[in-house]
């Protein structure tokens, strides 16, 4: 069934009438995602995407009128925390926030509120989630995928596309690709997604793409050693990153000597997970892991 999103997903797009929201909603519809509503305060009653999607003023109204069960947020950083909170209040169980630049202390509060409400948040600062041939929620280009048995989870955007393309080109298809986001505090961790993949009957192997900063890859390694028997391959970006600098992503920083690519690699290898030197090596390592 893949994880998080599928053919049953009824998507709401917050910020659908903005430039990003509009562009990506078109792409999502083209992929086959069912976008049932849009929300832009003040534009309720209008329709978006050539008349195909009704626009509402509030999430609550949109959900009541359309039965939306997931949202994708394309709203500027200053308003994104509020949009995430509105989504949770509106009763949506799944929220994906694409926005980059959300202040960390705002995100801290949003994280705890959504967690307490049992709302699954993906992101922010992420490309979203695509279940191949089922639904695309976010901005991952649809044409790089092929359907297959490998789940992918990543902190990155275009690096995710690079890996997916390498897999597709090698004939290794994907179930679901999840971008958890590049910020220091994101709604869902590697461990939680790995747990979902571990329990998904359609996912037979898992690829994890990490980067410097924080300890989520190390936590994932410990989790996988205990719980995950499916073959796994990882790639960690940032071996050449200098310490103490934010490498683009707010969460990609080696702090006080911790969060290096080496330490993540070591933790993953100690857990029996092969770590690729280059994205292009991932298909081969997956094959090795699967026959092992």
């Amino acid at each position: 069934m893949s994880i998080l999103v599928n053919r049953e997903t009824r998507l709401l797009v917050q910020g659908i009438t903005g430039r990003e929201g509009e562009f990506h909603s078109r792409a999502m519809i083209e992929y086959g995602t069912r976008i049932v509503a849009g929300v832009t305060p003040g534009k309720g009653g209008q329709s978006a995407i050539d008349g195909r999607v009704p626009v509402f003023d509030t999430v609550a109204e949109a959900v009541a009128q359309t039965g939306a069960n997931a949202t994708c947020i394309f709203v500027p950083a200053a308003f994104a925390p509020d949009a995430m909170l509105e989504a949770a209040d509106g009763g949506l169980p799944l929220v994906s926030c694409i926005t980059e630049g959300v202040p960390a202390l705002d995100m801290l509060r949003v994280y705890h509120v959504l967690r307490a409400k049992g709302v699954r948040l993906i992101g922010p600062n992420c490309p979203g989630v695509t279940s191949v041939d089922e639904a695309k929620v976010g901005i991952i280009p649809g044409n790089i995928h092929s359907r297959g048995p490998v789940g992918l989870v990543s902190r990155s955007g275009t690096l995710t596309y690079e890996v997916v393309q390498a897999m597709t080109d090698a004939g290794v298809g994907q179930t679901t690709c999840v971008g958890i986001g590049g910020d220091p505090i994101v709604g869902t961790s590697f461990v939680e997604i790995l747990d979902m993949f571990n329990q998904d009957p359609e996912t037979e192997a898992i690829v994890m793409i990490g980067e410097i900063g924080g300890d989520e890859e190390e936590k994932a390694a410990a989790f996988c050693a205990r719980e995950v028997r499916k073959p796994m391959v990882a790639f960690i970006a940032g071996r050449t990153a200098p310490p103490g600098r934010r490498m683009g992503h707010a969460g990609a920083i080696i702090s006080g000597g911790a969060g290096t690519a080496e330490s993540k690699r070591a933790a993953l290898e100690a857990a029996g997970i092969r770590v690729a030197d280059s994205p292009s090596h991932i298909p081969r390592l997956l094959h090795e892991a699967r026959v092992a």
Binding site: G101, P103, G157, I185, H249
Partner: protein
Amino acid sequence: MKLQEYRSKEILARHGVPIVAGRTATTPEEAREAASEIGGPVIVKAQVLVGGRGKAGGVKLAATPEEAEQRAREIIGLDIKGVTVKTLLVAPAAEIAKEYYLAFVLDRATRAVTIIASAEGGVEIEETARTNPEAILRMPLHPLIGLQEHQVRRVAFFLGLPPELRKDFAVLMRGLNDAFFGSDADLAEINPMVVTAEGTLLALDAKIVLDESALPRHPDLEAMRDLNEEEPSEVAAREAGISFIKLEGSIGCMVNGAGLAMTTMDLVKLAGGEPANFLDIGGGAKADRVAAAFRIILDDPNVKAILINIFGGITRGDEVAHGIVEARQSLTRDVPMVVRIVGTNADEAREILAKANLITADSLDDAAAKAVEAARAGAVA
């Protein structure tokens, strides 16, 4: 964004934290004047964002204004870990009876703002964590309720503060809390917090690191950015809206996406070269942005070749290719460029680049190898 000590103290003072009021000086004469105004012995401190200024001779006592002038002469222009000292803080010297460590930090691992307190003040907290972890109290704040009075008390008792100072401590700690949240900090650290010989509690040193993502809502704090301690190319990049970090190597990189940009640097190294920079050109890049990126990369004389890696999603490969060809015409210096564009309109991109006689590659590994080779060839020639 790191803030200088004197700026951090300004922010703390605004929120009610007792600090030692000092004056900044950029010349020895100003230091003498500051010391005169203050009266009595002063401490002259280099204002630099790098650590280890004490060991480097950047913090000195001066008993008189003349001595302050002399100490200032010694410290201004001093090189501390690659930074040239330009500004000093001249502050009344305090007679220290006891030193403590107190900080608020955003701990991503636990997803909580955490109070860190220790009676081992005046030393690196990482050092204490290694040698005497029992001496550190770590206490997370409730993410929604924030700092509670019982937490303030717990810290006061943990630090062993005398009863007569508990009220002052509550004011100080509440002020540090307010400064942290009010300025959207990642870290607000007082090391040391001291009790003076006279029995006064105050912050002797302060370090605030601000969350870059929150700066748009703090224009007054953005104005505290110390451009003297930033690479000119990085300053220019920020102004152009390009994410850029200067490194030491000879292979310039231009990539769309931070994770992919880090990977590109990693693959350059794997291919035997050294990246000259990290550069994320962002999504939807067009000619003017590409040109700005080239200028920033080529400002570095070490750059012998440029590797461009674009995975087009929203970003259209043909637009980037046009941008590269256009920008190349206006460059002051010609370096070999290896271009790898995949994704949206990659075929059109390849045609455009081939016509312009640029080296292209299909795979990222291949592009990295070609760039390293081009830089080597250039270095020989």
